[in-house]
């Protein structure tokens, strides 16, 4: 039900936002040695190194600077393919957010990984991955153009309980393109989307972490309250 989901997601978001605004940024390069140990969580599906091949997941050599979903023969999810086409490039920042919560980036990603909440561990893992890129020394420690992050928001704002009727009105704007029936040719379906994924995705567009100009614009002007209202409305449809 909507209530419980809201609290859960509020906590997740608080973390996301706190990292965006704090000093200990995950985009600072970590310890590749420690990262090699964390790699154990990935190696069941991904390979890396000179002999690496695509497996359950794509090989991760040279992942930095690569366009998302760009290995020709690999069967990526439609979500990730769409992100790639829309221009998502793997950088310290985007990889960091993807690893933190894969669904933030691509709701329908096939990567069945819960996500790594600890920013320090993510930095270590990224340092490890970076060593397998073409010219690791050329990858700057942080992105040259720091992106605007959301202001740190008090938890009570994040815990906002949305008004579903307001959400219903706001959702009518989505339905000019996204069909209520859930058809998804050319434009993805948004019906029966878990509330948490929805909120994460809207914030990712808002922060321009997810590419796509229309969605960046649409989400960019949604307030916290409006995102909560939309989530609440889509929540009522789900039951």
């Amino acid at each position: 039900m909507a209530g419980r989901g809201d609290i859960h997601l509020a906590l997740g978001l608080a973390l996301l936002v706190a990292w965006g605004g704090s000093q200990v940024s995950a985009s600072e390069i970590g310890d590749a040695g420690k990262g090699a140990e964390i790699w154990g969580e990935c190696s069941g599906c991904h390979q890396i190194g000179p002999e690496a091949k695509d497996a359950i997941g794509p090989k991760l050599n040279g992942i930095f600077g690569r366009k998302a979903a760009s290995i020709e023969a690999f069967p990526y999810s439609r979500s990730l393919e769409r992100a790639g086409r829309d221009g998502l490039i793997w950088t310290l920042e985007t990889l960091d957010a993807y690893i933190e919560n894969p669904r933030t980036f691509a709701s329908g990603t096939r990567m069945s990984y819960r996500g790594l909440k600890d920013a320090g561990k993510r930095a270590d893992l990224l340092a490890f991955l970076r060593d397998f890129s073409d010219k690791p020394r050329d990858i700057p420690e942080a992105e040259p153009t720091a992106r605007r992050t959301l202001p740190e928001l008090p938890p009570e704002v994040l815990a906002l309980k949305g008004d579903p009727e307001f959400g219903e009105y706001l959702a009518s704007e989505c339905q000019t393109c996204h069909q209520a029936s859930g058809a998804d040719e050319g434009i993805p379906a948004i019906t029966l989307w878990p509330e948490e994924d929805f909120v994460l995705a809207m914030h990712a567009y808002k922060q321009k972490l997810r590419p796509h100009p229309v969605m960046q614009m649409m989400a960019g002007r949604l307030t916290e309250e409006e995102i909560a209202a939309l989530a609440a409305y889509f929540g009522t449809l789900e039951e």
Binding site: D86, E165, F166, T176, C177, H178, S181, I187, V214, E225
Partner: protein, 421 residues
């Protein structure tokens, strides 16, 4: 379980909501009459009927049984869609939403008596009136042309037989012949529409009649997505399209349908097909209702889409003068939802929230080469004002252009379902 969303009314503090006093509670069902079953009118009728759960009686006055969308009609001309794919009927609006379809033209509006008279003589009374008749053409804007000449020089700017005629004419052009378009002055429906049409005609001629020429006579200095279209024309149709702008006399044009001539600043050109898209104004019924201004459009309150002339009369879509939004099907649909919310609020006391509007227009330049432009808008007291925008970039890679085209197919399916149910 489907939660009854209406159950929330009054139980939750509304976020930014205005609780309006219901205007006509107590009486029998409040009545809304909607004139025009296009992108604006049909959306408005559907949202009022859907969201009021039968509490409001909605009558849609529209003479046609089948609505052909102007959007994607250029793709039909280009051979990318068949004609039937543009057709939409009103059976879901009547069957699923309980809307009454009065198949007639609205002939007059008496705002004092709050009635609409139909061409057939019937009179409908309303508590709120929606006028969404789209456009009509300004008489005399292209000397030599009037509606009686549209069988020779089609406008094809209201979709239907006109669109079929233009397509047939293009396909029957003699080898190496000339297609001419007289483009309209601002403001007009679908700013990129004439240029998408040029692209589609070029696509057909390139395949069937590669030595043919296209002459675009345009009274405007600049046009929508100009950089993108010009890049595409250079790339796909090099040497085929000539544009004559105002510097070279495009504001001084006359047509001679009987001899198939176009006179540009005194110079006579013989052409084989001439697509005349005249200057435009709100559909005639808006003027007849007395809600238009001296420029021929109906000024509206940006917060609600109610007319300045009469708070009980709403105008949306192409016929409205609202500020920054282009006249498009997307805009009409977006405005209709704001109007529907406000009309419901006034008639049944449901919540009204601050207006939000948006628009995106996709255009196809050549097979799999799609571009788009869009913006989001908010209501200020003065006008609907653009707050953010984007446009496709020149030099984008082929994958992205193809994805943009595919996105437009998704949009077409989405918006037509949102308009007609």
């Amino acid at each position: 379980m489907i939660l009854n969303r209406r159950g929330f009314i009054g139980t939750l503090a509304a976020s930014g909501a205005v609780l309006a006093a219901p205007a006509v509670l107590g009486q029998t069902k409040p009545r809304v009459v909607v004139i025009g079953g296009g992108a604006g009118g049909a959306t408005c009728a559907r949202y009022i009927a859907k969201d009021s759960d039968g509490a409001i009686d909605v009558t849609l006055v529209e003479p046609a049984e089948v609505y052909y969308t102007c959007f994607f009609s250029n793709l039909y001309i280009g051979g990318f869609r068949d004609f039937e794919s543009l057709a939409h009927r009103y059976d879901k609006l009547t069957g699923d939403y309980g809307i009454t379809h009065a198949r007639d033209m609205a002939a007059g509006v008496d705002r004092n008596a709050m009635t609409v008279t139909l061409a057939g003589g019937e009179t409908l009374s309303y508590d709120r009136l929606v006028i969404a008749p789209g456009i009509d053409f300004v008489d005399g804007s292209v000397p030599g042309w009037d509606l009686s000449k549209a069988e020779i020089m089609p406008h094809a700017y209201k979709a239907g037989p006109q669109t079929q005629l233009l397509k047939a004419q293009v396909e029957a052009m003699p080898e190496g012949g000339t297609f001419c378009m007289i483009a309209p002055p601002n403001p007009y429906r679908c700013p990129p529409g004439p240029y998408e049409r040029i692209s589609m005609v070029a696509h057909v001629l390139k395949e069937r009649n590669p030595t043919a020429k296209i002459l675009l006579v345009d009274p405007k200095e600049k046009f929508s997505k100009q950089g993108l279209f010009e890049e595409g024309w250079q790339k796909h149709y090099s040497g085929m399209i000539e544009r004559i702008g105002p510097d070279f006399g495009a504001t001084n044009v006359e047509v001679r349908p009987d001899t198939m001539e176009v006179v540009i600043d005194g110079e006579v050109e013989k052409v084989d097909v001439c697509n005349v898209i005249p200057a435009q104004r709100a559909g005639e019924i808006a003027a007849a209702a007395g809600v238009t201004d001296d420029k021929g459009w109906a000024p509206v309150n940006p917060h609600s889409m109610a007319t300045h002339a009469d708070p009980n009369v709403y105008v949306m879509g192409d016929a409205s003068a609202q500020g920054d939004m282009p006249k498009s099907g997307f805009s009409a649909n977006s405005q209709a939802k704001v109007a529907a919310m406000n009309i419901r609020s006034e008639l049944t006391g449901s919540k009204a929230f601050p207006a939000k509007y948006s628009n995106t227009c996709w255009s196809l330049i050549e097979t799999d080469d799609g571009v788009k432009v869009g913006a989001s808008y908010e209501a200020t007291d003065e006008k609907i004002a653009s707050v953010d925008s984007f446009v496709s970039q020149t030099g984008e890679d082929a994958d992205l252009r193809k994805a943009t085209y595919e996105e437009s197919l998704g949009w077409y399916a989405g918006i037509t379902a949102d308009i007609f149910g």
